[in-house]
Amino acid sequence: MNMMSEAAVEKALDKKMNDISYKMIGKDVSVYYGDKRALYDVNLNVRQNTVTALIGPSGCGKSTFLRTLNRMNDTIEGCRVTGRITLDTDDIYDPNIDVVELRARVGMVFQKPNPFPKSIYENVAYGPRIHGLAKAKADMDAIVESSLQKAGLWNEVKDRLLEGGTGLSGGQQQRLCIARAVAVSPEVILMDEPCSALDPIATAKVEELIHELRANFTIVIVTHSMQQAARVSQRTAMFHLGNLVEENDTDKMFTNPDDQRTQDYIMGRFG
């Protein structure tokens, strides 16, 4: 091992502090549903290994923006996206980009838990299987176990892996969906109000989980709960009527936002 000079180490650390690496970059993103415009030239960057929270009043376009990041908008009839979104260096709307591969890199957890009507094991194994991530049964077992462990569900379900995934409680189902997304080893995980159907205890578990997942994944989460945004995220973006109002460090956002509208929303004065 080369010994670095004191100065070089200092410099590298400095660089790490200042050089923010962006995982996804959205530039002038606009979305139309038919003739109706839902997003107006949004410029929002998602930092690597960071939890970015999207907040804003209902109907302001949070889910719409989230869906542009893994092109789930493609599945909506009449939806059109303009602007540029990159994942690392790839333009994800480039015609050469395979949407299947993109979604293997950018996973998604939905608002309502939606496990497949199959066994718990099958739910988690499905993604790795279609992407050919496990050759042998033992590999698959390992992926399933580690994914469930990462989702904090392993201890609860390890004895009933072959039972139906839809037989779990709502909170367990949502964690199963997170395990399912994690099993594919995506780079980014998008979560659209993942706790809106959960009780406070299940919510706390999922939040803790998001916290841990941050080490390995980049996370974008939509939430209606200011407390949740403050608890889990490092960066927060505020949307209003299809516009990005402000994007900032979460601490700053909740103490001293730049924009009056953010202040009003956080104080509960509109929304």
């Binding site: 789930m72 009839e77 996973g107 009507p117 199959k118 279609i130 997304a181």
Partner: protein, 442 residues
């Protein structure tokens, strides 16, 4: 507790603070609900009564078709009649063309004590035996020529009129001249029945025989085999084509004017009268493509065309009913559209698809009109060994028997209806079992 609150002071207080009860029309709502339930029960009772009437009338008329009167007597295979000049060694045709009905008639005449020169008596005796005895005895003799000259106990079919009379279906109050069976024959019938020579057996012939102008020898085998071929053809063609078309339309096709037009057309096709499909089949499959007339292949193709819209509509609605969240889940994991459909959507839609298919098949099984047009209303005695050979279908057989005059055909008509219903019930039970299997996966 409530006792306490009714003390004068608290009651007065309560009355003051308690909001006045509003009239929110509860009585009316409950009355409406009760009325609605009554209508529902009345509708179901109505339906059940008619179902019961239908079943009762069919079964009460038809169950006798599964019994057949048979005569069991010693028959002398007289060499005198079968092979007078003993030429069977040189001329095998001799045994085939021998006058077997006379053998049977003489045997029965002997049992009844009718003299050999009583010509009217012999004719009456002959009228009690089914013509099918010719083939039966011929087969016995050609299989084993050594029985010539011996006496064997043989069981053969009674004539259809005797069968009807023995089952009590002929009104004896009608003057003898207007009856198919004479008083003398009735007397003999009773005599034979008493001695045990005439008795009712389970009618295997109705399952094993083809068409026959003699009711006692007629069966549904040709029709059942024809129907079976057609159902297989419909299943093999209509199910994959229909399901593939629906999946494409529902999951892959762009939603535009053109696909709307196709959708409207499919819905219209489902409502086209079946006889039109018969004409189409006649023009396309028989006249243009040159397939043989009366073949179950053509019938199967026509019924396939007729069943397709039903299957497509059922499959599309089953696909539509799969929750979109399942599709999002699979797509969000990076499954391709095809994987999403085949791994997740189709299995969930399967029970609905199966139900639609079985309903379509059941319709096809009971369809008569288009088959009449492509010539499946024919007299076919031999069971078809391939779908290219002439055949009929169960409902067509019912239609043909219903047009026959003999009393014995009336019960056979009902018997065939019972068989058709049994087929339908079996299919529906099969559908339910299949549904269960697919639904058991959570």
């Amino acid at each position: 507790m409530s006792q306490v609150s009714t003390s004068p002071t608290t009651a007065a207080l309560g009355a003051a603070s308690k909001p006045e009860r509003r009239d929110i029309g509860l009585r009316g709502r409950y009355a409406a609900e009760r009325r609605f339930r009554l209508y529902g029960m009345a509708a179901i009772a109505f339906g059940l009564i008619f179902l019961f009437l239908l079943l009762f009338s069919v079964v009460s008329k038809g169950y006798t078709a599964f019994q057949q009167s048979m005569i069991t007597i010693p028959v002398e295979f007289s060499e005198q009649i079968i092979d007078k000049d003993n030429e069977r060694a040189t001329n095998p045709q001799k045994l085939v063309s021998a006058n077997y009905p006379v053998v049977a008639r003489n045997a029965l005449a002997k049992v009844l004590g009718v003299g050999e020169d009583d010509r009217a008596g012999l004719r009456a005796v002959n009228g009690m035996i089914s013509d099918s005895v010719r083939t039966q005895l011929r087969d016995l003799v050609t299989a084993n020529p050594s029985i010539i000259g011996t006496t064997q106990t043989v069981t053969f079919l009674a004539h259809g009129d005797l069968d009807s009379a023995f089952k009590g279906q002929i009104d004896l109050a009608v003057p003898e001249n207007n009856r198919k069976i004479s008083d003398k024959q009735i007397g003999w019938m009773n005599q034979l029945a008493e001695s045990g020579a005439l008795s009712k057996h389970f009618n295997t012939g109705i399952f094993l025989n083809g068409a026959s102008s003699r009711p006692e020898a007629a069966g549904v085998a040709v029709a059942a085999v024809g129907s079976l071929y057609m159902m297989l053809i419909v299943l093999v063609l209509a199910l994959p084509i229909g399901v593939a078309a629906s999946i494409y339309l529902e999951e892959f096709a762009p939603k535009n004017r053109f696909t709307d037009l196709i959708e409207v057309n499919i819905n219209n096709l489902a409502a086209v009268p079946s006889i039109v499909y018969g004409l189409l089949g006649l023009a396309v499959f028989v006249n243009f493509a040159g397939f043989p007339r009366s073949a179950s292949l053509v019938g199967g193709l026509v019924l396939t065309l007729m069943t397709l819209p039903t299957i497509i509509i059922a499959t599309r609605s089953a696909l539509k009913a799969v929750p979109p969240s399942i599709r999002s889940a699979a797509l969000g994991l990076g499954a391709s559209k095809m994987q999403t459909v085949f791994h997740h959507v189709l299995p969930l839609a399967m029970p609905g698809i199966l139900t639609g298919t079985i309903i379509g098949l059941a319709h096809a099984l009971g369809e008569t009109a288009p088959l009449l047009l492509i010539g499946m209303v024919a007299f076919v005695a031999d069971i078809p060994s391939t779908p290219l050979e002439p055949a009929t279908a169960l409902p067509v057989q019912i239609y043909m028997w219903a047009n026959e005059a003999e009393r014995a055909f009336v019960e056979r008509t009902s018997g065939a209806i019972i068989l058709l219903l049994v087929f339908l019930i079996l299919m529906n039970v099969g559908a339910i079992l299949l549904r269960r299997r697919f639904e058991r996966r959570w």
